[in-house]
């Protein structure tokens, strides 16, 4: 019961933080250098790992589906399977998990450290709202960078699948066949659904990580505890939201 109340309390506080941050949306233009800095940190520095991760996820998916689908004589549809799985599910979820571990943890660590060492208090006494200076640029940056990262990741996954199909002896499907199958069943709506999911995941991750960073109390040990809490909470939210957002998107005609 106490745990449930604590979770509800955190949810409420995170929503309040969001409300307070959105109040400063008008100042976003003034925060442009910070926004660009966050885009660099969230997007550019995550790009290599996103490409590697999704490339190999696409490759493994092609390998596994090639092995299974050969029994049904449906090898020519590997492109469809890899394409749809990557764009609708694996792309957004894997990029979100990566962002939670890499970017979310860094956000919480930075804000928690600022809180513990009274930098946040200093901002408040200087009448500089931390929501304006620290939260809003990060939320804006994730909104811009998450679809970009996901799209690049999806393309890498498709490419990884295509290379695996072409150069794995047991599959031996030409790239042209692979991409023809991929295009045949892929709709713009699938890409849009994947990007909507990625956007929601990214936004929630940054909000959770900012909230847990700013609500850190105590000494340096609490910084580590907050980072762990932020990553675990983000991962849980990604998976829970994945179910509900997918269900919701499937209901939309």
């Amino acid at each position: 019961m106490k745990q449930c109340l604590a979770i509800i309390g955190h949810l409420g506080s995170a929503l309040l933080l969001l409300g307070r941050s959105l109040r400063f949306t008008g100042t976003l233009l003034r925060q442009f250098p910070r926004f660009v800095e966050q885009c660099y940190l969230i997007g550019y520095t995550s790009l290599p790992i996103v490409t590697i991760l999704l490339f190999f996820i696409g490759s493994v998916l092609a390998l596994q589906s090639g092995y299974s689908m050969e029994n049904f004589g449906a090898k020519q549809f590997i492109g469809t399977l890899v394409g749809l799985s990557t764009v609708r599910e694996l792309g957004p979820v894997m990029v979100a998990i990566l962002i939670a571990g890499r970017v979310g943890s860094a956000i919480t660590a930075e804000l928690a450290s600022m809180k513990v060492y009274q930098e946040i208090d200093a901002l408040i006494t200087m009448n500089i709202p931390p929501e304006r200076m620290l939260v809003l640029p990060r939320l804006a940056a994730i909104i811009v960078m998450m679809p970009v990262l996901t799209l690049i990741g999806i393309l890498c996954g498709w490419f990884g699948g295509a290379l695996t199909c072409q150069y794995t002896h047991s599959i031996s499907i030409d790239s042209e066949v692979y991409f023809t199958a991929l295009k045949q069943f892929m709709k713009n709506r699938d890409v849009a659904d994947g990007l909507i999911k990625a956007e929601i995941f990214g936004f929630v991750i940054v909000l959770i990580c900012c909230h847990l960073g700013l609500s850190t109390r105590g000494g340096p040990r609490e910084i580590g505890a907050s980072v762990t809490r932020a990553v675990v909470t983000s991962l849980i939210f990604i998976l829970v939201l994945d179910f509900f957002v997918t269900k919701g998107l499937l209901l939309v005609p």
Binding site: Y117, E119, D121, A122, I124, T125, N127, I128, M133
Partner: protein
């Protein structure tokens, strides 16, 4: 080190502080009990007390960083706990550990306030920042990161950052801790000169009796979360209360060491 200020004077724009029946508890633990005092506009007011007596907690209530459990702290006619007060009163707090922004250089730490509040153009900001750095002999450290500074230098940067704000109420939390005697004396001069030239109300939380007795107009002694005495600084030089007299001028008695008394009290 120079202690001349050419910052625009704030005479008439400074605020007094009124603390009335203020209590603060964290869960079951009560830290401040019914604390009341008044700081007049333009005054240097020292709050002294032993470690753990609640001085810094009291300062947080005045700065509006925490909300009192009961009672109130007011800056002029504004409630200190109300965030809107910060739009009315330019308040600067010099934190005990500096609380500098570690990712910013010393220059950018000082420039943050005028930039965020768009007080002037970049040339004006540069003048303000360099002037504050000059006052505290920190010109050569402008490009350094806080991590590259000593504890004392961090404290001076924190004071310089407060000066750039041209505050109407200036709060110091243990300003002389981690400073050598010469720097402590210089800092005392800076606090006093700043008040003289800008008439800024200053509240100094300290357990440095030299600092308090030399610069404060009035002093309050806080012990175990309660105000034990309040009066003019001169009254504390030979105080009749033996506890206060012993706190302000502790006598080192090697025949009857104090730590043995502490040991006995813990038993």
């Amino acid at each position: 080190m120079s202690a001349n200020f050419t910052a625009s004077p704030f005479v008439g724009k400074t605020f007094g502080v009124t603390v009335e029946h203020l209590c603060k508890s964290y869960g079951e633990s009560a830290v401040l009990h019914d604390v009341s005092f008044e700081v007049r506009p333009g005054e240097i007011y020292a709050i002294m007390g032993p470690s753990g007596s609640g001085k810094s907690v009291l300062l947080k209530q005045i700065a509006g960083l925490e909300t009192p459990t009961s009672g109130s702290a007011r800056i002029g006619n504004f409630d200190a706990a109300d965030p809107a007060t910060r739009n009315q009163v330019r308040l600067a707090l010099v934190f005990q550990a500096g609380a500098l922004f570690n990712s910013l250089s010393v220059y950018d730490n000082l420039a943050l306030y005028p930039r965020e509040h768009r007080l002037c153009d970049e040339a004006g900001i540069r003048d303000r920042v360099m002037h504050a750095l000059h006052i505290l002999s920190l010109e050569k450290s402008a490009g350094k990161l806080p991590a590259e500074l000593s504890g004392g230098m961090k404290k001076r940067v924190a004071i310089a950052r407060a000066l750039v704000m041209e505050p109407q109420l200036l709060l110091y939390d243990e300003p002389t801790s981690e400073l050598d005697p010469v720097m402590s004396a210089t800092l005392s001069e800076i606090i006093a000169t700043l008040r003289e030239q800008t008439a800024v109300t200053s509240i100094v939380v300290t357990h440095d009796s030299n600092l308090a007795l030399s610069i404060a107009d009035r002093i309050s002694i806080l012990m175990d979360g309660r105000l034990r005495a309040t009066g003019k600084a001169a009254e504390f030089k030979n105080h009749s209360d033996p506890v206060i007299a012993n706190f302000l001028n502790p006598v080192i008695d090697l025949q009857n060491p104090r730590f043995k008394q502490l040991e006995q009290s813990h038993e």
